[in-house]
């Protein structure tokens, strides 16, 4: 009896498998045993099918080379930003040395920052009732530009901020070795010549740490935003999720998930589109897997930046494919192992990052240690 029951069970399973694969075949390529429900859906939905497949009259496109601008000329040469970054960092160290020697003689220290209003309106929050062109911004104060005003802020002695219209920021801290603001909304252009890690911007979804550079940061009130680096590189982090954005690259940040994958802005449209799809999709979703496949397929050697970050944001199973692709673009250094990278050994990941020649991870780790110590000291 038991054998008979088992045989019936197998027979039933075979039949169900046959039905399933037959139906799958129909779904897959419209052949095999028809699935009545799919056929019904096809009939019902046919009315939405594209009706006109005749192309319109396309205009003749003039493919004449674009007029070159000085900005494009500079940014299209990879050695120029690197040379500029190196010069800027060297200058930053010299200035920092000068500032640190001079600081004890300054009685005011770094308590306030000088704000210079350009195209200023009297109703910017800090100037309400006192329409001056130059004001001093104190710790704890907020500053806000309106719809048509812009402002320049001298960041103590270490750099400058330019505020676009509709930007609101607060000065949180201005001490030797640490300058910190919160960007509540809007866009700031940042130029910093202090040593890496001294200037920090809080947003609702991530903390941006200057690592010797020039960058633009935009954030919405809901915390979503975008960071684009022009020179040097910037660290972007929240709750241990880190994104490093070198010159020519950008990264979005999301209120829900923190810093997104960084990408070079000259990557293909498809690659960039896949990066935003990956960032926006929920973990483990089919959409995220599909975006990941596109990234692996479309990655140029330069997109190793994105793939390195992708390693720590995919499941262990998917990480193997990312490892293979990244290894093909930039072989991992000798002091790393496949197993180590797959288990996300931080030292090995840092070593691979350094091999990409996009910035020295030692700077970031140094900042992390000093920041953790500083936060603990404040508590």
């Amino acid at each position: 009896m038991r054998v008979l029951a088992k045989t019936e069970q197998w027979s039933d399973m075979r039949q169900r498998y046959k039905e399933q694969t037959g139906h799958d075949e129909y779904l897959w390529q419209g052949s095999g045993e028809p699935d009545a429900e799919i056929q019904r859906l096809e009939q019902v939905l046919e009315q939405f099918r594209a009706t006109s497949l005749a192309p319109p009259a396309f205009p003749i496109v003039d493919y004449a080379p674009r007029r070159s601008s000085w900005w494009r000329t500079i940014t299209s040469n990879t050695w120029v930003p690197r040379f500029s970054a190196a010069t800027l960092i060297l200058a930053a160290f010299i200035v920092a040395l000068f500032v640190s020697l001079r600081e004890p003689t300054s009685p005011r220290g770094n308590n306030g920052w000088s704000v210079e209003l350009a195209e200023a309106q009297a109703d910017t929050s800090l100037t309400a009732g006192k329409p001056k062109r130059k004001i001093q911004m104190q710790i704890g104060e907020a500053f806000e530009t309106n719809g048509i005003s812009r402002a320049n802020i001298a960041v103590a002695d270490i750099g400058r901020l330019e505020l676009e219209p509709m930007t609101r920021l607060r000065l949180l801290q201005s001490t030797a070795g640490r300058k910190r603001i919160a960007l509540d909304r809007g866009t700031i252009h940042v130029v910093i010549w202090a040593p890496p890690g001294e200037f920090v911007v809080d947003t609702a979804s991530a903390v941006a740490v200057d690592l010797g550079c020039m960058y633009t940061l935009h954030t919405e009130e809901n915390g979503n935003g975008l960071l684009r680096t022009t020179l040097g590189w910037v660290g972007f982090q929240r709750n241990g999720q880190e994104s490093f954005i070198p010159a020519g690259a950008a990264a979005a940040t999301y209120e829900r998930s923190g810093p997104g994958l960084p990408f070079f802005e000259d990557a293909s449209e498809m690659f960039r589109s896949a990066v935003s799809q990956f960032d926006a999709a929920t973990e483990g979703s089919a959409q995220r897997v599909a975006a990941q496949q596109v990234m692996l397929r479309e990655a140029r050697p330069r997109d190793e930046l994105t793939l390195w970050h992708l390693l720590s944001r995919v499941s262990e199973l998917d990480r193997q494919a990312v490892y293979r692709r990244l290894s093909a673009l930039t072989p991992p250094p000798a002091n790393t192992t496949r197993e180590g990278i797959l288990r996300l050994d931080r030292t090995m990941l840092d070593a691979w990052w350094n091999a990409l020649d996009l910035g020295d991870m030692g700077l970031w780790r140094h900042w992390e240690r000093s920041w953790t110590g500083h936060e603990a000291q404040q508590k």
Binding site: L45, Q47, A50, P59, I60, V61, Q287
Partner: protein, 197 residues
């Protein structure tokens, strides 16, 4: 100038893409014929049906001046798909319309007024159900069920791997069946209540 007759239907898209990159609008027209259905399907999953036809043309007009930037000519389909998705997003931003895609059920009351006959209303309801699925499933199901493309064709056109398309079709269809069953149960419950009233 490369025409379909000269190139032959079996010729790769790369032939047309290379010609289009040299400014051959006729070759670009051939690419339009080959890919309009895919673009239409991708848009249909994201924007209102009445706006899709116009946007199909806008996608190609947006792609035309950029086609010369396409380095790998064999990837035209996936490149065009990415442009299409981006345009759909831009379209929402421009029109300040947020997609209304209920996650748990399909609501026939959300359909446009033009779908007032029962068969049209049913079709709109099914489409809305598909639109409420996750993006990867939504796109492949629309290309299969609405545009009549086969799985291998979807993979070849969109640049996704055949395995991904197969998985998306299978899982998407399962979810669609569940949603439709849920919708029908809800309809049955509503009509029962009405009868009782």
């Amino acid at each position: 100038m490369v025409t379909e007759a000269q190139a032959g239907p079996g010729d790769s898209d790369a032939t047309f893409v290379r010609a289009a990159q040299q400014g051959d609008t006729e070759a670009f027209g051939q690419l339009y014929r080959r890919y309009a259905r895919m673009v239409h399907g991708i848009l249909l999953g994201r924007v209102r049906h009445v706006e899709v036809e116009d946007l199909v043309q806008e996608v190609f007009l947006r792609a035309l001046p950029r086609v010369r930037e396409l380095r790998d000519t064999s990837r035209f389909g996936s490149w065009l798909a990415a442009i299409t998705r981006n345009l759909a997003v831009d379209h929402y931003r421009r029109s300040q319309i947020r997609p209304e895609r209920p996650d748990d059920m399909c609501d026939p009351d959300q359909q446009p007024a033009k779908f007032n006959s029962s068969s049209n209303r049913k079709a709109a309801e099914v489409l809305e159900c598909i639109r409420s699925l996750p993006e990867a499933y939504r796109e492949t199901l629309i290309l299969r069920l609405v545009e009549g493309m086969t799985g291998p064709e979807i993979a070849a056109k969109t640049g996704l791997s055949p395995g991904s398309v197969r998985v998306n079709l299978h899982r998407g269809m399962n979810q669609l069946r569940q949603k439709l069953a849920h919708g029908e149960l809800r309809d049955a419950s509503v009509s029962k209540n009405r009868t009782m009233v």
